[in-house]
């Protein structure tokens, strides 16, 4: 075993219980855990290699906790991220407001971070159309406006999950050449000072 090598930092953001952990579980372990919901504490990190063309790219995925308690420290998780999967629950309109908050946060602090809007739990919508609380077109409009990609996924059925992460990896792979010299991989030790100057609430 050698020290961990991570090519691209990917951060999962979104209101609590929208299904961030489930999405990572589905993608990394190909499973969906039923049973009582266990909120994430702080954040969980997993490294996942993925084949893009003839290359292997390792995504370092940070699954953050949605609880407001951790909001003030969220920057350590998304700082230097190349991609952010901002999740909202298709059956919960307040979760989309929260997603907008994260988008704004990312636009302010991480201009190099590509944003992927992800509507979760689409199996619930498929089962009952009236369960949808977030309008599809509202989201696509918003996505266009901020230049983000848009996905609707289900971690329960696996629908669209691999596609989402594949897209993240491909985009990274395509853009990697441009940005390479400056910022490669994830080094939490870097930019410590600049971090201190900008992480606080008012």
């Amino acid at each position: 075993m050698t020290a961990m090598r991570v090519d691209a930092k990917v951060v999962m953001l979104g209101k609590e219980s929208v299904g961030k952990t489930s999405l990572v579980e589905r993608y990394v372990h190909h499973r969906f855990l039923v049973g009582p919901y266990q909120n994430t504490i702080g954040a969980a990190f997993v490294a996942k290699p993925i084949n893009v063309g003839d290359k292997v790219i390792t995504l370092g995925i940070w699954d953050t906790a949605g609880s407001e308690r951790y909001e003030a420290m969220s920057r350590i998780y998304y700082r230097g991220a190349r991609a952010a999967i901002v999740c909202y629950d298709l059956t919960d309109s307040s979760s989309f407001l929260r997603a907008r908050f994260w988008v704004k946060e990312l636009q302010t602090f991480e201009e190099h971070c590509k944003i992927y809007l992800c509507g979760t739990k689409n199996d619930l919508i498929k089962a009952d159309r009236s369960a949808r609380q977030v309008d599809y077109h509202d989201v696509t409009d918003f996505a266009d406006e901020i230049g983000a990609q848009h996905f609707e996924t289900s971690s329960k059925t696996g629908n669209n999950v691999d596609e989402l992460f594949m897209k993240v990896a491909e985009d990274f792979s395509n853009s990697a050449f441009e940005l390479m010299p400056e910022e490669k991989g994830v080094d939490l030790g870097q930019k410590k000072d600049s971090y201190f100057y900008s992480c606080c609430h008012n």
Binding site: M1, A3, M4, E16, T21, V24, E25, G35, P36, Q38, N39, T40, I41, G42, A43, A44, F45, V46, I61, D63, A65, S67, E68, R69, Y70, E71, A72, M73, R75, I76, F101, K104, E105, T108, V186, D187, L188, G189, K192, Y195, F196, Y197, S198, C199, C200, H201, N202
Partner: protein, 511 residues
């Protein structure tokens, strides 16, 4: 073992005596629903220099404060955990305390109570919080122990059973009682009425209230409330709590605590069942000392500059603990860590990285804990506590190195086998008729106890057993007339407890 596990030469002084880095600038953040948190103490604020400001604060350690854990040991690090078998006890040279044993106290337990126990058990088993419960129902009233947390404005923060909303009037009344008495420069400690004890603990900015129908003393209840208080502080820090309520007296704290209720629930269950919280001790995993030495040395070797404590757990048992020179981990903080790990499956999903305040160490700041299982299906969980929130990858590497080293040794095999059989039958100590015992080594802050034999396996019997230990413990540690040994005969069991400079044990013999 020579030992500074971690590098020397780091100085931990707080130049300006404040947690806020001197020259921190502000910058705008997007609108957040969370009210302003204190700069520098928001979860995750790196506070390397501030972290060690007040070494340990033992001030409100429950009644019997312990001497500094092994502060006089030659080694710079302490490795906790020894295999404790009966034969080894005699050799121990420290003063120890022992728990106690069961006896008949069923008289105090009307049948209703028993039913109640069964009900609680069902709730626990289904993993459902009794949240939907109707707070006006008889069943709700009959819970053996209620715990409420409220703000000084009388706003509900936590209730063990039922929903906080439904209890806002009740909590308002509680707050009124507290402030009424305090207006006269008095402190309300407890109310005894109708077979109930209502115990108050005012730790500004929180008020904690326990309502118990058990035979527990006010002191014990108040100590349990303290645990709950520290649980909350460990999530937010006291600095942040104070800040929030200074700015907004009637802030609804449940917002920031959302998702943490199960931690408090599970802590309260531990308090009902784990003698360790009573004894100020943690349970060690039985393991041969040679294997433990190898594990400890491997853990020591995996150092990082910011690493303060490295803790290896097997389920709820301690395998070993390595600490930075001169830094001590209070048993209460250790219990909070145990509880965090034990009640969250979330750390199974990768490597956890979370801010945590260890309130007995310092209520003002956060450490960052790297929490992960050694292997996906394993019960062995490694907690690496760091002062630097940016240090995730270094700690992750520490874990990797530790595991690599360990895998090369046969000790790993021994450890894995020990994890498979974490308990032992009481018969192993070779004392005929002995049913159960708890043995604590005071110097190490560890205790050992055999598996529960048949008569105590049922949930309510288990809790009754803990009640008996509690009784013996309270005799040994009575504030005015502490006893050195206790023997009590009962209908179903005899109890024996002994504090000794050589050895302490508590027995439970069949009559």
């Amino acid at each position: 073992m020579a030992a500074d596990v971690h590098n020397k030469g780091v100085t931990w002084d707080a130049p300006n005596g404040s947690l806020v880095p001197v020259d921190r600038l502000r910058s705008e953040r997007s609108d957040s629903p969370t009210p302003g948190l204190v700069q520098g103490t928001e979860p995750g604020a790196g506070q390397e220099h501030a972290m060690f400001m007040h070494a340990q604060s033992f001030e409100d350690l429950a009644a019997e404060s312990e001497s500094n854990p092994d502060s006089d040991q030659a080694e710079d690090q302490s490795v906790l955990g020894e295999s404790q078998e009966a034969s080894e006890k005699e050799g121990e040279e420290e003063e120890q305390r022992g728990g106690a044993e069961p006896e008949e106290e069923q008289k105090d337990q009307p049948e209703e109570n028993q039913k109640q126990h069964q009900k609680q058990k069902q709730e626990v088993q289904t993993g459902v919080r009794g949240k939907e419960e109707d707070v006006t129902s008889e069943a709700w009233r009959r819970h053996r122990k209620h715990v409420f947390v409220l703000s000084e404005a009388g706003k509900p923060i936590y209730t063990r059973y039922g929903t906080e909303e439904a209890l806002s009037t009740t909590m308002g009344v509680m707050m009124a009682l507290v402030s009424f008495v305090e207006a006269e420069k008095n402190i309300i400690r407890a109310i005894h009425a109708d077979g109930c004890r209502v115990v108050f603990l005012h730790k500004s900015p929180l008020v904690l209230v326990g309502v118990s129908q058990s035979s527990q003393s006010d002191r014990e209840l108040s100590r349990e409330l303290q645990y709950v208080y520290y649980q909350i502080v460990s999530l937010l820090t006291l600095t942040q709590l104070n800040h929030i309520f200074q700015h907004k007296q009637n802030y609804d704290l449940r917002r920031l605590l959302a998702g943490s209720e199960h931690l408090t629930d599970s802590l309260l269950r531990l308090l009902d069942r784990d003698p360790g919280l009573l004894l100020n001790a943690v349970m060690s995993l039985p393991l041969s000392s040679s294997a433990r030495d190898v594990v400890s040395t491997s853990l020591q070797a995996a150092k990082a500059k910011s690493l303060v404590f490295s803790i290896l757990l097997a389920g709820n048992r301690l395998v070993t603990l390595v600490r930075k020179k001169d830094q001590y981990l209070h048993h209460m903080d250790l219990h909070l860590l145990f509880n965090l790990v034990g009640s969250s499956s979330s750390f199974r999903e990768g490597e956890g990285w979370t801010p945590i305040c260890l309130p007995k160490f310092n209520t003002a700041g956060f450490f960052h804990a790297h929490i992960s299982y050694l292997e996906p299906k394993s019960d062995l969980c490694l907690i690496l506590v760091s002062t630097d929130r940016e240090d995730f990858f270094n700690l992750s590497d520490c874990k990797r190195r530790f595991l690599e080293r360990l895998r090369k040794r046969s000790a790993y095999q021994a450890l894995q086998e020990a994890v498979q059989t974490p308990t032992y039958p009481v018969s192993q100590v070779g004392i005929p008729e002995l049913w159960h015992f708890v043995y604590k080594s005071k110097s190490s802050g560890l205790y050992t106890s055999p598996e529960l034999p048949v008569p105590y396996q049922k949930e309510e019997e288990h809790e009754r057993l803990i009640g008996l230990y509690r009784y013996l413990h309270s005799c040994l540690h009575h504030p005015t007339r502490p006893l050195r040994s206790v023997y009590r005969c009962g209908d179903t069991e005899n109890l024996f407890a002994w504090v000794s400079t050589i050895t302490t044990a508590a027995f439970n013999k069949q009559v």
